[in-house]
């Protein structure tokens, strides 16, 4: 804003003047079937953990951004912003609290909105929460509800479920690129291996490739071990401005960049059904803004609600050519591989509480970068990429964290 001509100097100026955003605290509940905990219990538990971790008081909080995807249809509860603020004991203080909804990418979207609110200079300290309570419903009724992340009138109406749409993508992908089912199953095997060491994960059992290959069919070619579970869970972060972080001597992880992009709602409308265009567009923006390279990324958390998406994401995030993710899934994505993926256990093993996923990914990335990831700690973790996706790829939200 002060110089127009000399772009190098200009960058420096912008860096000095701009307000960097830091994550200074994080917390989450266990993910899983948490029958003794309600939507509001979960949200408050995660929020308090994050606030405690950050060492702040509720009076320091300027605003709350709460992510949730399906409380309206599952729990018949809307007005989630007020619910979260109220049961966090913050209503009397009048702290603004908004619910952000972007389907299964609600968490990433809330993180992004909170980031922008600090970046703009409006706020100094913002709490980002994500919560989903999916087991308050019996039997297959959940499939009716979860299918609302698709195009209800033109996909779900005709018998499509999220798993069925992922299966349609998987079949064509495997056909066109000669990819064996085993490559998809390996993604789940990796998730479970990592999840086995994450105390917050829903599944802590290791999975053999045989178990992953021979599980009960859900939507052929996908079986139960290709599909993330239905989970209850909540996660929260405390974000703070650069000035707050420095003035109060907080340790934090910087958000280098935040990006989001959209694609068609229905899979059939897209030019290529196995290309996640929202992911491709968002990741380009994210790297451009972060000014780092793919080779700088120490690990990724990606939105693998179905195993096939894990492979597509490796490709569309730019870590493999189209059809070649199969070359990464056996060794490279492991904790000690060249590009570790889902050290948390991912959606398959850590769990998939829709609206909370994106916030949970950031909680895990924060712990890694702070060196507090316990048994899953990646050595010298410097930069993390987190990818949170809505529906079958209709939106992707990407954050790059580090330092």
């Amino acid at each position: 804003m002060l110089c127009i001509r000399n772009s190098e100097k200009c960058l420096l100026w912008v860096r000095v003047l701009s307000n960097e955003v830091y994550i200074i605290g994080a917390g989450e509940t266990k993910f899983g079937e948490l029958w003794n905990k309600s939507l509001r219990n979960l949200a408050v538990e995660a929020g308090l953990k994050a606030i405690e971790d950050a060492g702040i008081y509720s009076r320091d909080v300027d605003a709350i951004y709460g992510a949730n995807s399906l409380a309206g249809v599952i729990n018949q509860q809307e007005n989630i912003g007020a619910l979260i603020a109220d049961f966090s004991g913050l209503s009397a203080d009048g702290i603004p609290s908004l619910r952000i909804e972007s389907s299964t990418a609600s968490g990433g979207a809330a993180l992004r909105d909170a980031y922008l609110s600090i970046k703009s200079g409006e706020y100094d300290v913002v709490v980002v929460g994500g919560v989903e309570k999916m087991t308050d419903i019996h039997g297959n009724d959940i499939l009716e509800k979860s299918s609302s992340i698709l195009d209800r009138e033109w996909e779900a109406f005709f018998g499509a479920t999220p798993a069925a749409m992922a299966a349609l993508i998987a079949r064509k992908y495997m056909h066109d690129f000669n990819v064996e089912k085993e490559a998809l199953s390996m993604f789940s095997v990796n998730d479970h291996l990592n999840g086995s060491k994450n105390p917050d994960a829903q599944f802590r059992n290791k999975l053999t490739i045989q178990q992953a290959m021979n599980a009960t069919a859900v939507a052929d070619p996908l079986n139960m071990m290709d599909c993330s579970p239905l989970s209850d869970g909540a996660a929260a972060l405390v974000l703070a401005s650069e000035s707050y972080t420095k003035k109060n001597n907080r340790e934090g992880i910087r958000i280098l960049s935040s990006a989001v992009a959209e694609d068609y709602l229905a899979v059939g409308s897209r030019k290529s059904i196995y290309t996640l265009n929202s992911t491709k567009l968002a990741v380009e923006k994210a790297f451009r803004k972060a000014q780092i390279k793919r080779s700088d990324i120490s690990f990724m958390e990606v939105h693998d609600s179905f195993s096939i998406y894990g492979l597509l994401e490796l490709e569309d995030l730019g870590f493999a050519e189209k059809g070649k993710a199969k070359d990464l899934v056996y060794d490279e994505i492991k904790l000690d591989g060249s590009i570790p993926v889902n050290p948390s256990g991912g959606l398959k093993a850590k769990g998939d509480p829709y609206g909370a996923v994106g916030v949970g990914q950031a909680v895990d990335a924060y712990k890694q970068l702070m060196g507090k990831a316990g048994d899953n700690q990646i050595k010298d973790a410097g930069y993390a990429l987190i990818h949170n996706m809505a529906g079958t790829g209709s939106s992707s939200v990407i954050h790059i964290l580090g330092e």
């Binding site: 499939l143 009138e153 005709f158 499509a160 349609l168 056909h175 899979v267």
Partner: protein, 134 residues
């Protein structure tokens, strides 16, 4: 759960496989949309209804084993992405065949069928499904 007006609103398109064609670029769309994603505002007032032939081929397919209550009685069923000869790709079931008979590239055409029965209201909804060309 399903309101009658909501079903009725889409009936014309679902019963007759009617979509829209953009008179600005010539692209055809299904499901119906008011704006052409290629031409944007240039397409305003230039989207016209078009009835599709109902002929197409299987772009991809799956056999659904785990279905919502309103489809439970049809399990397992074949769900497919069908590329119509006019261009649009639509999501629909393929019926009157063994799942093994379906493959990528299989030629199919539409039939008018019962789609689902709503569990709570008991309303039966109709629309298109596909069968393999003989």
């Amino acid at each position: 759960m399903t309101e009658l007006s909501r079903i009725w609103r889409e009936t014309e398109y679902r019963y007759n496989l009617i979509g829209f064609k953009c008179k600005n670029c010539g692209n055809s769309y299904f499901p119906p949309r008011d704006i052409c994603p290629t031409c944007h505002r240039e397409s305003i007032g230039k989207m016209e209804k078009v009835k599709f032939s109902g002929n197409g081929e299987v772009l991809s397919y799956t056999i659904v084993h785990d279905a919502p209550p309103s489809f439970k009685r049809q399990v397992p069923y074949v769900l497919a992405l069908i590329k119509l000869v006019e261009g649009p790709v639509i999501t629909a079931q393929i019926v009157d065949c063994a799942p093994e008979d379906v493959d990528i590239g299989t030629k199919v055409h539409t039939v008018f069928r019962k789609i689902r029965q709503d569990g709570e209201s008991g309303i039966i909804e109709y629309g298109y499904k596909f069968v393999i060309d003989s």
